[in-house]
Symmetry: C2
Subunit: 169 residues, 2 copies
């Protein structure tokens, strides 16, 4: 798929078909995520693939905006490692770049995805740390439900001239 | 360009040719950035195109890791807007997604780019706020020097099995 097509046509998808995703495809899109740049190339990310229905349901029940987990065949929790000083400072930015690759890759494979916010909301961070048995220095940034789309969304016009400035604000 | 090619082959470029970039190309890659998803679709980003040699030199002199500005024909300061509560919480994540699109788009156009860290380092945030006349509620996240590459970098192997976990960490 063409880069521009992926970037412009990708939309957040919250309704999924009842259809499994091949493991190989999941690994491929996680590989895309791992090709993001990161501060000092420290690659501070971890990807936890959640497929168990009971785990997805448990998160759905306790997270205020995670209804889409009901129909998602899986979700990937993207977490940051906070070992070095550098990672502590930039992990959430590096992991965000990885997630954009992950979402673009999902779209390329015919899959839909959406960013479900975890960090910096403390209660959501604690929820996922407990459910996923995360060590102290691993922090969940976001949960990305992924599945074959069961909704069609229009492509918006997002270019806004007023967001571009020359030399100064 | 193919999405996978852009994601895997893009590298951080720090040496640039002495060659101007067409304004239309710059607008196109900023448009790619604007197609990133954002929390509640609030699109909290601003893009400041810096071309003046004296401004680029001034930042280069005061930022500890910005030597690449010497050869860059321009840099884009990507800034977040912190008006809503939502923006205050997620602006740096939303802007990071936009920057990944911007860097992939640059690569597609034959351009090199690199993430120069600003936020959360206070002294760098203040430096850019002063130089770019940013209002209080606009915060610089990163500076992205862009130009035609004057270096060739190998593609690394970045896939790491140990970063993938199933169900729990």
């Amino acid at each position: 798929m063409n880069l521009k097509e992926a970037i412009v046509n990708r939309r957040s998808i919250r309704k999924f078909q009842n259809r499994e995703i091949d493991d190989k495809i999941i690994r491929e899109i996680i590989e895309y995520a791992m090709y993001a740049p990161s501060a000092k190339d420290e690659q501070p990310w971890h990807f936890i693939i959640i497929k168990k229905r009971e785990t997805l349901n448990l998160i759905e029940k306790k997270h205020p905006y995670a209804k889409m987990l009901k129909s998602a065949p899986l979700a990937i929790a993207v977490c940051g490692e906070l070992k070095s000083e550098n990672q502590q400072r930039y992990w959430m930015l590096d992991c965000s770049l990885a997630i954009q690759n992950l979402m673009l890759g999902s779209y390329e494979k015919g899959l839909g995805s959406v960013w479900v916010s975890i960090y910096p909301r403390e209660e959501r961070v604690k929820l996922l740390k407990d459910i996923l048995s995360l060590p102290d220095d691993i922090i969940p940034l976001a949960l990305i439900p992924i599945g074959y789309p069961n909704e069609i969304k229009k492509i918006p016009q997002r270019f806004k001239e007023e967001k571009i400035h020359l030399e100064k604000f």
